[in-house]
Structures are given as C-alpha cells and as structure tokens.
Amino acid sequence: MQRIGVFVCWCGSNIAGTVDVQAVSEALKTEPGVVFFTNYQYMCSQAGQDIIIDAVKEHNLTGIVVCSCSPRMHEATFRKTAAAAGLNPYMVEIANIREQCSWVHKDMASGTEKAIILGKAAIAKVNLNAPLTPGESPVTKRALVIGGGIAGIQTALDIADAGFPVDIVETKPTIGGKMAQLDKTFPTLDCAACILTPKMVDVAQNDKIRIFSYSEVQEIKGFVGNFDVTIKKKARFVKEEICTGCGACVEKCPMKKIPNEFNLGMDNRRAIYIPFAQAVPKVATIDPSACNMLKNGKCGVCSKVCTAGAIDYTQKDEFINEKYGAIVVATGFNPISMDKFDEYAYNQSKDVITSLEFERLTNAAGPTQGKLLRPSDLEHPHTIVFVQCVGSRCAACAEKGKEYCSKICCMYTAKHAMLVRDKYPDTEVYVFYIDVRTPGKNFDEFYRRAVEEYGVKYIKGMVGKVTPEGNKLKVRASDLIAGKQLNIDADLVVLAVAIEPDKSARPLATMLTASMDTNDFFTEAHPKLRPVESPTAGVFLSGACQGPKDIPETVSQASAAASKVIGLLVKDKLKGNPCIASANELMCNGCSTCANVCPYGAITYIDKEFPMFDRTMQTRRVAQVNPAVCQGCGACTVACMSGAMDLRGFASSQIIAEVDAICR
C-alpha cells in the first residue's frame, strides 16, 4: 500500500476563487492510501515545495498528488521536488483542477465537486504507480544536413561553427539551391549570388563540413543520437578529388543541345557540365543520358582534353555509411507544374514564363546575360503582365493547385515589376493580384515603392485567359475596382507559380518516420513553440521543407535548427522518457499490428525462446520496443489485440483505476 500525500493548491484566487480548496483536501483524506493532506496558496513556490519535502520525510510518503494547474505547467517542477525529497520523480501525479476545472466552472459548488473527482482519480492512479528510471543512450557527435540550398548551408555552417562535424547531402552536382538561381533579393535588392556564393565558399573551406554533392540519402536506420545512414554518391564519371574545374572538357564536348536545368531549359548545356561558374564543388559532371561515350562508347573527347586525368567512364555509384547524432531536413521547394493551368497558355507560348524563369532572364549569368528579352524572338518586351496566385490558394481540385498561400510571390513579383521599370522605364508593367500580402520588415514599404516611385500598375483582379496571337499575348482579365474587363496586348506574361515541397521529401519522411501534412510539408513538433523540430526525436527542419518561406525566414529557421542540433550534440548521453511502451512477451503473439501503427518505427520483432510446461523450449516472434526511439504516444497499446503492449506510467490498469475513481 502506498503512503500518499495530497497537496491542494489555491493558485491565489485562480483555483480558490471557484473551488473550495479546504473542502477538497478534506474530501480526499479518506481516499485509499492517503496519509497526509493539506492546502496552500502557491504550491509551486519555494515555501509550497518545502511543505511537500517536509511531509515526505515526516510521513514517509511514497506517493504525491498535487491538485494544481495543468501538468504541462508544473509537472516537471513537482517531480524535481519529489526527487529532492528522495522520492522517485515518477511517483508524482498532478490533478489539473485549474485549466480543466476552476477556469471553466462558474460556481463554487460544481467546481469543488469536480476538483474532488479529479483528485480521487489521481490518487487511484498513484496507488498503482511504480518508480521509473529513464534509460540512457550515447550521442554520435556528427550531424547530417539533407539539402544544400541556403537553408542547409546556413544550418551546416552554424553547426560546424560550434565545433561539430557536419555532412551535407545534395542531389544536384552543386550546392546553392534555388537561391543560386535568383537575381536580386527583396527587400534590399542585393544580388543573390553576391551574398550566397561567399557562404558556399565558406562551406567548401570549412574542415568540419563534408559535401556529398550529386548524392542521395538511401537508407536511414537508428534513432536520436544514433542514426545510421547510407548515402548514395551517384557516379558523375569525373574524379571529384582530381578535377580542377577548369572547364576544358565542357568547351570541347560535342553534345551541345542538352536543356540546361540551371537556366530552366531556356538555353543549352553540354553532356559534361558545371552548372554555373561559382558551383561548389566546382567539378564537372557527365550526364549519362546525354553522353555518347557512356551511351555507345563513341566519343571520349573530354577524357582526351582533361590534363588532370579526372574523367572516369567506368565510375560506379558509391555507397557511404555514416553515423549521425542528428538529422536536419532542408529539402526545399519547387514551383508546381503549369500543365493544368493552360488558360494562361504556358505550354502554348514561349513568352509565358514562370517567375523563376524570369529570375534567370534578368540574371547577368542567365541565358540573355541579364538583358530582359522575351524567349520567342529575343525582342525587348514593352508590355509585361504579371499574374499572382497561379495555383496558390486554389481549392478547386487537389490535382490542380495548392490550397495554401505560397507566401513569397507578392514580394518577388513587386521586386520583378520594380526592377523592370527601373531598368526599362519605357515598359508598361501590370500586376494582377487578389490580395497583396506583405507582412515582413520593410516589405509593405517595398511594395508601395513599386507602385508610387516606379509606376507599376497594380490591378485588383485575376487574369482569366491568355491567347497567343502573332507576336502578342492577348490577356483577358478583370479589373474589379474599375468594374471592367480588361484586354491587354502583352509581350511577356509572368506567372507567380505556387510552390510545393521537393518531391524527394515524401520518401525521405518515410525513411525518417517523420510526419508530414497533406501538402507534403514536414510537420513541426509544435506549430508555435517547437517550430524547427520534427515530432521525431533527433530530426530537425530547416527552410521551405516545413512551409513556404522567403530567404530571411529560411535563414532564421536554419540557424534555429542548428542551435537545436548543437543542444543535442553537446550532450554525451541522452536521457530518455521512461514513460514508454513495452511488450509483455508472454502475451505477445507477434502479429505486427503495433509495429504498423508506430509512427516512430520504435518496434521491431525478435525470435525468442520460451520455456514450456513440459520443459521444452518454444521459439516465438515477439515485439521489442527500442526505448530510445519510443515517444510514449500509446498508439501500440490501443492497437494491440492481445493486450500485450502497455505504457509505463500510463498502464491500462492505471487508466482504468482513474476511470473507476471518477465513476465511483
């Protein structure tokens, strides 16, 4: 039998205002196991905690019930108090008589009645509590960052700066991501390359950081502090450590008509290529789908011109195994396909482009060397129509657009419109918008400058149809403020296309057993209070993989994720949560139901021998819970059909005892 002390808190008038605390402590004194009861103004204060410590010593208490606020608020406090008094911290139960009682009741009588019931339930539970000890696991002091855009770069630099080794895995031949493709950045209009490429160089030169470019994560096993990851380094047919990035091979490669991904297909690259001049690592890569030598053994020019001898047509994919303590997801975003929106004629005219294509058209390193020329005839466009919210805020059907606001489009469209008017004042610029959303430091001022200083014509309304005719694009749209339908003959139409998470995110989430929302954005552990952590321990989120973000926000989140990683990696050992599931092996029938529902991948199966009545041994398949991975959610205990799974600290018998106490 436990010896239980009951401590009822007034919380000033927060509880005492609607709950008769004296009546509550009196009512609970006759409950089974209760040997001590009292009430006090602020149990969480030092004086209040001292009352508990003294009572434990004086009355040899084995269990404590505190009737106070939500356990979210002070459970940790009272567990520490119990430990200070020499009790196991898990012998404390909180009856929440504030948030779930005094705050929601108006009259003293019903508030008091409910508080007594909640107290009885907690006492019934603590009667069945057993001391629990958290397990410990070591921490591998190395982090993995998946994705080498600005988010991954910033996270890696910050972690490395704290002294921990970091690996970046990037699927493209170079790091840099979307930001490397941008021209200027809002709201200060500094050039993206000027602020990004120094960071890329920092990454390359940092001896704590390894870059696995042209690589993918193949497999992830393990758990927080102890991830075991296989990385596939795709064959680039160039020896990375030898290649000097001189570009001689690129110049001589005879395959010249391969659409250049970096310029979004608006110009061509060779079969052997370096994505752009500031690429990191600056090494060549052979595209096996385009290279004649790899396809049919006929060519070999690059190998002949390479004085370093870096070309290796026999190179194979390489698999690297590494252990990590923490994993940061920074897989980023892409514009959605415009195939379902051809009322804007994107697939019918070269002069209807996306905003990302527009970035390349105005970028000095882009296909037109930064001159704004329209793709069809390389003429200067005199009338440009920007269309916002193409595919964003679209709830018509799931295959078509995205229901969310893509967040970055209002600002970059204002930037584009402003830059056009600045460089080419003879150009008419229209922006069709539904709402202009500019929350952010100096953002609205920036948009207003586009209108007031640069004379961009913002029109509230949507474009309904774009019809190519001759060398014009006939734009039909509504002007809701003027109450008119507009017909504009444009030379160029720019679509602010919705963004979506990179396609690699979904399979990665499966490997990580990290949760995603219906749009394939990674879910954060708490939308406000834990925004850079995944609910899966040891997995952190950086950048647009978690939701649409602009650069300032991405960098903030990247640094925040890094600080969380550092906080994990500085620990030598991790203390787990002892309130985890465990299987009663005698009852487990090995059906796998629990493993299938476990969102964390914490359950595995082993074959184990059990002694039988006739003294023979029988081998059975039984569930095993990895204590370092289990988060104690209890899904398995509900799913288990034989009742073999139970949650320590929240055993079915304890829950039933609580319910019984409430119903008594």
Binding site: A395, A396, C397, I434, M462, G464, R476
Partner: protein
C-alpha cells in the same frame, strides 16, 4: 422584403448546389467570361449578390440571358465556386414564377435564317422559358 430576398437567395443556393462562401473574390470568372460586355451583372457579382441575399436586381436583369453557359468560369475558378450554375439557378428562379418568360414562341420565326441549326432554337427555348 429583405427577408423574402434572403429566402429566394437561399433557395437559389440550395438548388444550384453552389456555395458562394467559397469565393475569395479574385475575379477570375469575370476575367474569363466571354459575355462580360453584354452583362449588367458579371459572374463574380452574381456570386457576391446571391451570397449577400441581394437577388432582386439579378432576377430582373437581362444578364441572365447573356450567359452562354460555356462553363469557362466553372472550369477556371480556383475555388470551385461554379458561377455559371448560380446564374442558371437565378434564371430558373425567375422563369419559374408565374407568367415569367424571356421569349415567346411567336417571336421565334422572325429570328430564324436558312442555316440556323435546330440546336440553337431548342437551347434558347430551354434557357428562356419554363
């Protein structure tokens, strides 16, 4: 009167199966409507006015007979509002009242020419009368 109007609007919403509250007022329907210039009230206004219960002006508007039922607004609406179905329901609400019609059978012969396909006459009759 206002209550009556609200009742008619609710009936229109019910019969059309359209939920005007889904509208985010982007104006794409009116930006794409081929009959815009012939209409006094435009697709987005139909949605807005039915939502707010202001249906009297719509019921008496010639705009009802200018909608081509081409369904461009339905297909292109980013919110799946289906304005053309609402226009259809308003038109029906008018035509179903006693003695209301937009065209007499006697008026038809004068409008015909040698080539006009039967399809046009039946369609117009369906759209203009009970």
């Amino acid at each position: 009167m206002h209550n009556d109007s609200r009742k008619i609007a609710d009936e229109i919403i019910l019969r059309s199966g359209v939920n005007p509250r889904r509208c985010m007022k982007c104006g794409k329907c009116s930006g794409t409507c081929p009959a815009y210039e012939e209409m006094e009230y435009h697709p987005h206004e139909f949605v807005y006015m039915v939502e707010s219960g202001e249906v009297e002006p719509l019921l008496n508007s010639k705009s009802l007979y200018m909608c081509l039922s081409c369904f461009a607004c339905v297909d292109r609406c980013p919110r799946g509002v289906e304005p053309a179905k609402l226009v259809e329901a308003v038109r029906n609400a008018y035509l179903r009242q006693q003695d209301n019609k937009h065209m007499n059978a006697d008026d038809v012969p004068a409008k015909l020419d040698d080539d006009l396909p039967q399809q046009a006459i039946v369609s117009a009759f369906r759209k203009y009368r009970k």
